[in-house]
Amino acid sequence: MSKRIMRTPPEGEFVARPDDSLIICRCEEITRGEIRRAIYDGMRTMNEIKRYLRVGMGLCQGQTCNRLVQGIMAKELGLDPVEVDIPLSRSPARPIPMSVYANDGVTKEKGERKYE
């Protein structure tokens, strides 16, 4: 990303809000308050928030919460949601058993594992 990231903190102090206990990331049970706090802690991109809080790193891989986190960040930072880039996308796009990867390129013959 060539985009410059402004690291100046949002306006003023972090102020707790009544809806801070609301769960945003359903898989990892991360709340709106934790996400808001992370922004005040200096997180400026969704990639950073993801690594900081594990938001979007659960079983569903951000299917439900990506857009919600994007909205929260935009609101806190005074941006249009489209200005907040969603996290990098990498394989695997869906949750899979590790055994599937482990067996990649392996063929079984007479009980023996052979690599292609």
């Binding site: 359903r26 049970e29 659960g58 079983l59 569903c60 439900t64 949750p95």
Partner: protein, 107 residues
């Protein structure tokens, strides 16, 4: 909860009626329908409890995206019950947390 007559779709093609185990109880459902549908037809809404807040969760997206409906199926945790077809004799358990834990262990 099953729709007997539908004005547009009329009836629904279903597999044969089979029995399966849910937390020790014996329930019935149709072979090949998603496990979650068989559970819902039996009135089961809670599929798992979350690891941090121990909150109940059930079907949310019903198409295998949100993973809120995961349960322990035949000993395997994190099975998306809304897309995995029901088979006769399946052992389905409520999941606590994200691993293969039994209820008393997580308490």
């Amino acid at each position: 909860m099953r729709i007997q007559n539908h004005p547009i779709l009329k009836t629904f093609e279903k597999g044969r009626l089979v029995t399966f185990e849910y937390d020790g109880d014996t329930l019935q459902g149709f072979e090949g329908e998603p496990i979650a549908m068989a559970l819902r037809a039996n009135g089961v809404m809670i599929h798992r409890y979350t690891s941090k807040q121990a909150e109940p969760r059930g079907v949310f997206c019903a198409i295998g995206r949100c993973t809120d409906c995961v349960m322990i199926v035949d000993g395997k945790p994190n099975v998306r019950t809304c897309v995995v077809p029901l088979q006769e004799g399946m052992k389905i358990k409520t999941q606590y947390g994200i691993a293969k834990k039994e209820k008393d262990e997580s308490a």
